[in-house]
Symmetry: D3
Subunit: 339 residues, 6 copies
């Protein structure tokens, strides 16, 4: 399987452990970003995954490339130029204290990229799947146009397309998001969202939210998925489901709605080490599952388990193999040592 993802990779600067910002002078400097995270996870699953972006032609841009390369991602199509790599600062919360993210991503090389930076015909050669998120078109109008171009070529070549809505309020308004994203949806086969994105981007809420509490939540997610399918004619819609008990303890699972039917994964009770990238690893698990398993229940279990594992791993990347995901599904998370 050959997969391509397209978006931004940022330098991620985080205090070690659960320290507050600048409580000590050392920062953990890694790299991440929605579509890059998906590419790394799929590479760990054994896929031929390429990540397309633009980075500055300096040691920071090179370090981002090297890190992707380390994890087996094809970096051949990454353009070089522009002024800077975007940055995000992450303070990992704990218990009653929430995590904090500060973005410093304006004027990044990718946000200033132009059409000629990417040769999509070459990039999509022999490719089976293309994935992007709602962050990419939010970075600049040029990028939104480049994305449309890419999507058209993808569809011409019969490539399956998935999109993670991933609404970021600091990048654009809900109005602009709705306008731009609506245009892109025609090229999308599989839509992925978290509990809130569909409402924020498309204004889609569960229709009858006043029924008895017992089944309300599950029902409402199914209803949202149904509306999305009706409106945009998706093959499948998947929603990740997070219940935050505290910054350290989450219940986590997912739903896949396909062929008029909803499949819910088991709920994982996770002690969180690093929740960033949880949604991205859910996307990667879903893409893998849809391509490898016939049983949709198996698909959503794989996506949920993969992304549960991610949240016990430091950094944006889900450094997890297919075997490890399957073991979790089998053992139910009992965590016995593998000697």
């Amino acid at each position: 399987m050959k997969v391509v993802t397209f978006g931004e990779i940022m330098l991620r600067l985080a205090p070690f452990g659960n320290l507050r910002f600048f409580q000590e002078s050392a920062l953990e400097a890694t790299f991440g970003g929605g579509e890059a995270n998906v590419a790394v996870s799929l590479s760990f699953f054994g896929y031929d995954a390429a990540f397309v972006t633009k980075v500055p032609d300096n040691a920071i841009g090179q370090a981002a490339i090297s890190e992707l390369r380390k994890h087996g991602v094809n970096t051949t199509y990454i353009a070089k130029g522009g002024d800077r790599l975007g940055i995000y600062y992450l303070e990992k919360g704990m218990s009653v204290r929430a995590s904090n993210v500060i973005y410093d991503r304006a004027n990044s090389s990718i946000s200033k990229a132009s059409e000629k930076d990417f040769n999509w015909h070459q990039i999509f050669d022999n490719v089976n799947w293309f994935h992007f998120t709602g962050i990419t078109p939010a970075l600049s109008d040029d990028l939104a146009n480049i994305l449309i171009l890419a999507l058209k070529i993808a569809k011409e070549k019969g490539i399956k397309v998935s999109c993670d809505l991933n609404y970021r309020k600091k990048l654009w308004s809900t109005e602009k998001a709705k306008k731009v994203m609506s245009k892109l949806m025609q090229y999308v086969d599989v839509l992925i969202a978290n509990e809130e994105d569909a409402e924020k981007v498309f204004g889609i809420k569960a229709k009858n939210a006043d029924i008895s509490k017992g089944k309300i939540e599950r029902e409402s997610f199914v209803d949202v998925a149904k509306q999305l399918v009706e409106k945009f004619n998706f093959e499948a819609v998947a929603i990740s489901l997070r219940e935050s008990i505290s910054a350290s303890l989450n219940n986590w699972g997912g739903m896949l709605y396909v062929k008029d039917k909803a499949y819910f994964s088991k709920t994982h009770n996770i002690n969180i080490l690093d929740r960033v990238g949880g949604g991205d690893s859910f996307c990667a698990g879903l893409i893998y599952g849809l391509n490898e398993f016939k049983d949709y229940q198996e698909v959503i279990e794989f996506a949920a388990a993969a992304s549960a594992l991610k949240q016990t791993i430091e950094g944006d990347f889900n450094l997890t193999t297919v075997d490890e995901v399957k073991t979790l599904i089998k053992t139910d998370g009992s965590g016995r040592i593998q000697r």
Copy 2:
């Protein structure tokens, strides 16, 4: 609001993470102490907070001052001289393993301070609130006398006074504590204590402790507060309430007794990162609350939430803003990322 606190600041030496003492050769060296912790927390809340103490005139004393200065505390009135900064060694426990503290604070500069080290008329210029704990008078007789002098001047100037009982059995006997603290109580407007201090220092227990288990605890704390008010005529009494399930997991809250009525905060279930300074941040939250909110329920919720946050932060200091405390109260600790 201008606040002054008076007491000892110590060098705090702790193994990193949950290591045992000297399991590895690196120690985390920070600074802390009851009254200094209150000053830092109030500075984070936006108050003009001065801390008064005496430190040796060397690099260690200077580092303590610099650290306070970093957090915005006014260090102008800190005297310099004497032989040493007190030290405490902290081993952070975990789960079934309790934390350990070893004190090496004898002969510290502050414990040997004399009256002429502090010009209280100048220190208290335009000040609204003065806070101390039961540790300060326990350090030396001279310090107890200096404190009485300070308290007299404070009352002359109409400054509100709060005191955290903070009984330390390694510093003095319950007899001596009772004798000295009883003398000081006439100057105190707001008394703060934990579950055990009132009995240890003043021998005050809940009167009818043999009623049915169900409501016993809440009732007994109210009764203790009532007795304290009756005996010393305090405006308010606050008690922090800690239920230790393990060294990693505590239930935490507080009670404020004022104008013949008791207000209990919500109980926070906390995963503990560092519980030292929990009581001090409760005091700071209370002082802030009493000065800012009219609703006493709001006051005790603020104090409890502020000190819950502290226990998820490394070090003695509560590096938390008013906004963060209010967010916790609103979101009930669900710990969603702040992007």
Copy 3:
């Protein structure tokens, strides 16, 4: 009390905290191994504990010796020579992610040791107790023979012998284990095992495992112990009982079967910092308990509490004193600070 243990000590290489293998370049390098861990724990309990092994005559072998010496273990009888110290790589899991162990222990100095490396008459001079595990005879046939020799001399000298079954499937087959271990059992007074060892090594399962779920587990462990005693005529059999809820959360306890009666310890709910060496610290606690307490309930409580504490401590070694174990038993793990 003079105790001797005999086996392998390995270099243990682990990523810091909960990082995956080689996620960062730093590794925590410590030392450990079943019998060495027992010796260290007994030294912390105040016993005169000697560890017998063979290490290479280089800086790595010397570091292993120095580390044991640091913890008070008698290293006088450690032979020097051979090619290498065995290594194990440990990745500490968390929550739904299991821990991983990779062994690189082939051709270690101890696995190539010969009879003349150890003078058992001298080693056992004035010794009261000898302990080994099923790992030692699994390392090589020579070592199994050396062990038989040692056991014979131990019995001649009236030394009590304990054995922890500790089956390792990567070292030998169940067939070979059964054959070799059966020969050794005649010298053993106290047998220790975890929930699975007895079945794997001796094929001993609970006889009637189909009774109602409620009491089944406890009953079945008692039945296994009874069968072991019947077959090998042990004085006592102890079984450690671990229920893995996740890699971070375990329920932990133990059973002691002696004089036809079973004693179950309280169950400890542990947040795991490092579970490696849990079984070894259970053995050490048991050896200490059997020698110090008359009440068998007290014995198993001590063993269970000691090994619960271990799992909150980094590294293989249980750096815990008798006082700390007793405090845990008394306070029920509430984890109050020891000031």
Copy 4:
């Protein structure tokens, strides 16, 4: 003495020790910038030093303020707002390998500051000295204009002004630098430069550079200073003199030209720990010297020794007291332990 400096403070991200960029994932995150460095050094010398800038209203901007505050700098006049704190990445070279700096400072809060962010009449109240560098006007045209405004008010108030030319080719062309800086020079009393700045900014070279090699260098620096004084009517010109033998070993000194006479300091042979901020600490030493010593030789010795010490200290800031500088001058760098 009250001093004000005005300019940019940046987040400085550097690999630990002598590692290459991103060779390991940890970065040392500190803060620095020409004028901030001068303020910190003067604060260590006991002066009342204020630093004026604009930082974003987030945790990164606050950390910059806290760090300055820690070192005693007055941060009252720092404006808050704008989008980001500038960043520079530093790779510390060693021996034959040069250091590398990557700037990511575009669109910083200070570069976008406007006139109304600073109330110079208030800032300059009771101030004796104002210092800036050629970096500040290079950041934006607005900033150059703000600087002219500040300089006018400074001169009205009789404040002495010093300027460090500090030409940065990545910020502006030599043409623009010449045009802007020439306008500013009328307000400057003391000009400071390194060996190359005068030529790059003003095109001033030594007049007769073809005399015999022996004295050529000293003579040529004197000649450059003389021309600067003639052209701009400075009270004094100081030049720092660095001879790079390797990235680890430099010879370092300075020259002060005042009242038609040149004073050269002793040359210090320095093992370099961190050379960034060397020039800034030279400025601070010079400002201190000119205000405290009558003997100009003493002034330049102080400036040279202070900045030699800086280069043995990690980070941009010269954490050195007057006593330490004087001890170096007296002991000639023999480095005996101070017990």
Copy 5:
């Protein structure tokens, strides 16, 4: 340019900084080995470099691959299997204290590799250069035979071959080395050695070593090279020249003997950060130089400067670009900051 190197890659475990073995518990875990080091350096120079070896199919083997991949090395032809990755422990000396290396490389996967692990026809497709060292055939007889097979195919395909003698006394005797290496020399075009290798492996010493001291050393190296060329008909012989003043300070350069003429590089005075891999980076520089420059003086200057830079970089790998090497040659190591 496509280059292939073939040999062992090991896990390298080193105490941080200049600590002695196990002085602290943290170890820096990186990867390295003669031929891998050459491949990484050539990849940094922009060549398409593949490294061929065999690693165990576990997390340690994978980490070695990932690290090579990070640096752009083609790892497609690395076989997986066998038991373990070889290890070397490195203690970096300083000043009068020498560095120490302890090898634990026996029974590594590569030393047990068999012919079928490598498809040389495929590996050598379109390749221009093949490099190996004397370590590879020393690891096992099978490996020596595999190497002969590879060399034959290389010569058939017209690939240039270079060999670094790299004699290791712990791997084989001088007799065996001579026997095996002599057989391989017929396939070698360019031989590289340090000052001692030629004598140890082939018994070749300078012929008239008793002439006047002044020129003796240079002459004797030329003479050794001449003899090597005469005996084995090499196109070129290069010798790295190290003068150890202390573990921290070395003089370093090289000689290239080609077409009957010797070219000596400038001598670099290096402060050593990590000298391991110095010889390998010399090989890589030489290979690059011979392929890129016509002037042989330029070739040897490049090789010497490249390997001088390596010794200021932590780890086995020379993380240095062509531009950096050229800058060093131009600037003569003065170490000015690159802003």
Copy 6:
């Protein structure tokens, strides 16, 4: 050889690398002190070395014992009790910046020890050599008296005694030092001093210090030694000779004066990593040399080389074997890797 040393061991707290005090929050916590350092070094040389002191009965005292035990020192005779372990803070200087030491050793357990804490008859059983320094009697009058008692018993038992003058001006005046030390000298066989101690303690200066510069220094040291021998009838006097070029670069050697003849060692040019403990390792080298070598030149070369090595090792302890010292003497510090 059985050796006993007697004195204080302190907790040593130092910033990592060359950081200034409290520049970062981590401190390196190790242990050291003159006589403890000698014991550790002799243990590394293969001697049976016991260290006698008193430490508090808490985790800090125990850690000091464990650290000594790790290095093979006999800790059987260490008394437990008293209030605290002394502390010294060390800031390692570099280049022109000197190191700093801050002592916080008052009221340590050893300074408050009493006669009954030590059973000298038992301690000295079968002992060959006893060593102390001038620090021990300076700590308290009681300790001076205990030392006299120990010395008397030592002489009764025919034990050789060495003393390192080690004058510390912060512990006592030169007057008191002279008075106390003069009394002790009658028991001393071998006196060791640095360049300044003899003058400070006994007022002994070189007699004719105005001869021509060339030989003056060597001659003057010989003269001082001669006077010491004449006055106190020592068997031998040794003086360590340090020339501080900077905090990073020292010339180091020693002189031994015995049987009316002076032996000077070679001078070592040392890059300093950690100079603390240099004098103590010189003492240990001397004690070893006097017991093992007949040639006095060999003795002083050993002492000088051993202590040169120490200064390249972090911490107070000289972690160096006899082989390593001999290799340095043979290879002249060229620092070749030991593979």
